[in-house]
Structures are given as structure tokens and as C-alpha cells.
Amino acid sequence: MFRDLREASETDVYTFDICIVGAGAAGIALAMELIGTPHKVVVLEAGGFDFDPDVQDIYRGVSVGLPYADLDTSRLRFFGGTTNHWAGYCSPIWAASFDKQPWVPYSGWPIGQTDISPYYDRARDLLKLEARGWDAAGGWDPEVVADSFGHPPFELDENASEPRAYVINPVRIAEVFREDIAQSENLTVFLNANLVEILVNEGANTVTGLDIRTLEGKKYVFTAKRYVLAAGGIENARLMLSSDSVIAQGVGNQSDNVGRYFSDHLDISAGSIVPADRGIDLQRYTRLPYGRESEAVIVNDLTLETQRQHELTSGHVRLRPIKDESTGARTLRQARRAVKRDGLGALGEHVGKVLSAAGDISEDAAAYLWYGQTPLKRIDVQFNLDAAPNPDSRVYLGDETDRLGMRRVVLDWQLSEIDTRTITWMNDWIASRVAVTGLGRFRLEVDPDAVLESVVWHYHNISTTRMADDPKAGVVDANCKVFGLSNLFVTGSSVFSTCGGGAPTFTIVAFAIRLADHLKKEAGK
């Protein structure tokens, strides 16, 4: 059922078996797994059913490191959380990401891919992702996806890279599960319920309750046997750091790891290719329908051997064929965007023409006749990197406070030398492969002397309460329990030990389901 905390009595006692903070991807997935169990479960959600600027303002923060998305516009603080505007790209974390890679500092997880893969099956159901080609051990088979697309492969570099499929369905989980939650008997979702402090005993080893407030200033204490933070990749850390009444550095922060290792996938518009053959069929690399509800896209991952050989972090390259604007049907909006970022520069036309003179290119009309499709204007090249773990990249509390009296977040996003090196290597690699495979010529848009300026975030807030097998190296253990606290758990991408290949939400949901199984088992003992 749903309740509005603003209408609840401040003097009532609110006691549950399991208390979950936050109703985004993680909180809802966890709650859905606990519906129908004998446990009395509560979800405390800061927002209501819709966007409210006053509520959203609590998310405002400051960025002092590399430029990052505004913290109050990228994350969403209402029922459904940030999945109310996510893009829906899904892929499991790449198996090798779980292993320690000696050339990547702080790499490795305390669990392996087999510990999480069974939960991906259930996560796929929950996020309504196409089953065809799916295998929990390896994700969606890119060959199956590509076959369904029906376009021929283009081999960029079979030694250095391998294809990987993302399946896309930006399902609005708040809408999908709202009715189930409303009907459930053992689950209550309190809306407009903001956690402001995790209360702990004097030994700081047990959570005794949660200090919950409404924006209007009403105060409540919620108690439970077990508590789970599912408030998002930045807020999980903020809430732990803010809980400083008993220990000044915040709960679970005895090793000063809370808020550190902040990470995201890196999005780099590396440049554009002038194709030698404008009739080449690269449709296989575009985003196409896949199954009833999903779409899919195929990218090229750097192989583990390539990463090892050149001491790189993991990542992929995505080719985005752009059809000729003059012949394609384009909306005004698209046309404006194209003018803003053509990508070929002043010499692009000339590079195209010399490739043509070299006998490799077909004229627009011929391309159209021979291939039955609009000729390509260019192929944009996008890199997506898994930033290496970096303890200096961090979230901490600033001096400014919000309406709830909580200190606002400061984000100091940093990258590492290995990230820069990987981008530079990929630039050289792609320029060479584009020419050697006869695809065309590549124009680099990244300034080689200022590589980091080309980096854009993906809105994935990762690792601020990272999982480790040693309390000195992280915040939660392999079961997502906070080191040193008997009954506090964290879920969401903040527990990822590393960025991991793939977009995070699919794995967030898988981890939430795994945690639900763990809590059920623990509670049943």
C-alpha cells in the first residue's frame, strides 16, 4: 500500500522487519521481491508520485572536479527515482570486470560473475527485456541480435575487439509496479519521507532507527530489524556521511572509504569517419528494434588481451552511421543538430573526394541504386570507457545545508592516467583500423593535449560505497552489508567495486534481487 508521511502521526510507532530507503530501480526491485513474504516491509521514499521542484532541490550540490552533470537535474527525487528518465540501455557487467586486472589499480570485486549471473535472469524479467539470444552467463549473444537485424558484419578488428549487444527498454518501473505495490499486504511505501540520519547505538555497530522528516518539518523514527539504503549512487554515501551523531566521520566510514572511488562510464565523441564507400551497409551498428518491446545495438568491446597488452581500462567503440542529410528524411530539429555538430570540418569534403578519386567510392546516386539505401554522409565514432577506480574521485559533504538541514553534496570527479592513456590508444587504434579495413579516413575530435576535455559522463553514479573483501578497501562486504554494522545494507551502483562494462541499472536490479534472497535467508534463520 502507499501512504503519505505528511498525513501520518508523529507519535505513532513505525516498526518493521525490513526498512528500505529509496524507491528507484534498486528500492523497487528489492521491494517487489519481498512482496508476499512473511516479512513486514517498508519503503521510505523522499518524493511523491511526481516531480516537485522543492523536493528536487534537496539534490542540489556542487561539482569541484572535472565538469559533471548538474546533480539536481540528472537524478530524480520521486517515486521511481532516476528511472523516470533513464534511457534503458542494458547489458550485464562483463565477466572479466569482476577479476583483478594487475595493470588497473584497485580493480577486482570480492565476488565473481557466477555470483550475480543467476539474478540477471530475474532482472531481465523485471525490466521486460527481450529473452531471445539471452544467456545469463554472457548476456545477449551479439550474433543472434545481429542476425535478427539482418545486416552484414563489418570486421573492425577481430583481434583487438569483439562485439557486444546492449538491449534497450527504458521501462518506467514506477508505473509498471505501482499497482502491485498498492495491492500488497506486507509492503508499505511512505511517500514524502526523507531519511536525514541513520541512528546507531553507542558502539556504532547496530542501527537502532532512522530519523525521517517531511519537508514541512515533521519528524518520525522508523525502526526495523534490517535496514537497506537504496537512495542512489551519490545519496547512499551522503546519508552515511551525514549520520555523524555518534561517530564524526559517519556510519560505516571507519576506513574513510565512504564517498570515495566515485566513478562513471566515460562517453567520448572521438570523431567521425568519411566512408570510402558511401553505400556500405553499417546498419548492423545502429539501434534497431529487437523483439516485442526492446531495441538493441551492437558495439565493439576491447578484448581482455588488448587491455592487458596495452595496459588499458575496458571499454568499447560504437560506430554511428549517419545518412546523407540531403536525401534522408530529417526533421528540423535533427537538421539543426547536424549543423551544430557536423563533425567533418572544413577538409571533410576533400578527404571524401580523394578517397573517391582513389577509386573506392561510389557516387550518391550509384550508391542509392546499387545498395537501395541512402548513402552515408559520415560515421560518428563514440568511445565508452569504464573509468578505472580512483580513491581521489569522491563525494563529500559541503558546508551549505538544504531545507532538511542536511549538508549538501560536493562532487570531486577525477579520472586516472590509465583513462587518458586508453582514450589516446583508442584514438590511434581507430584511425589505423578505419584506414586499414578500407572503411575510410578518421577525423579526431579529441584534442590530444587535453584528452579529458572530451570526456562526458553517463549519469551513472558508481562505487561510492564500494564492495570489498576487506574493510580497509571498501564499505560493504560481498552481501552488501556495511562493514562493522550488523543490520545495515546498501544496494545500487554505489556498491559496485568498479565501473564494470555495461550500463549499471540492469546490474543494480540483479543486485537488489540477490540482496532480497539474502535478507529472506537471514530473516528465516
Binding site: 577538409l347 576533400h350 571524401g352
Partner: protein
Amino acid sequence: MTSYAIGRRAVLFVLAGGFPFAALSGQQAPSMAEAELAGKLVSLFDGNESAAVLGHYYLNGLEARPEPERLVGQILAHRGPANQIVDLERGALFNRLQSWIHQDFLSAQTVSLDGWVLSVTEARVFALIAVYRDKLA
């Protein structure tokens, strides 16, 4: 299109004493084979204004404009003497050039023109075309 029309004109131009290398540099004229090969390389991009544009761009980026002989010499470096290459048919010469370009990309012998990553050999061929066109203009 297998003719060497521009190439023949270039060679005639050379024979008439107007070979741009010598004219520009005032130095010792290149061998006949080098001159002829230069003409043939230029002719692979017959009528292609864009090659000259790229060539000028490349030349403008250099600290000093290289002597044309030097360009030919650089193109041929480690690739055998001009007289072993000059007799190739147009198609074969084109393929040879492509393989040089291919090798350049494999061994990171590239240059950047406004961000465009080109093989150093193709950039030098374009530069040769630019020089040749400047002289004809």
C-alpha cells in the same frame, strides 16, 4: 580510366625544362624516373582539386616547405628506386600506393590535417599535387 593523361603532361612539362621540382628548388634536377613517377602519382588524382587542397594544407603545416625532390624521396624511402616502380601500369601503381598507405597506418606513420588522420605517404602525394598545380597555374 587507365590513362595517364595528366602524367604524360607532367612528364612533357619536365622534359621541357619546366619540372616544378627543379624550377622551385633551383637544385639538381631529379632523375627521369623520379620525374616520371611523380607525374604518374599526380595523375592518379586526375582533376581532383581536393587532393591539392589537402596538399596545401599539409605544406602549410610544415615549418619549411620541403623541396619537391625531397617529397618524392620521402615517398620512395625504403621502397626501392623510382625506376623499379615507374613502369607499373596505372592500376598496379594505384595498388602499390594503397599498400604503402596501408603500411603507414599499420606502423603509425600518420599525419593530422585539421584532425584528419592521413597516412604520411598520401599526405606527401597530395603535397606533390599541390606543388605541381601551383606551377601549372
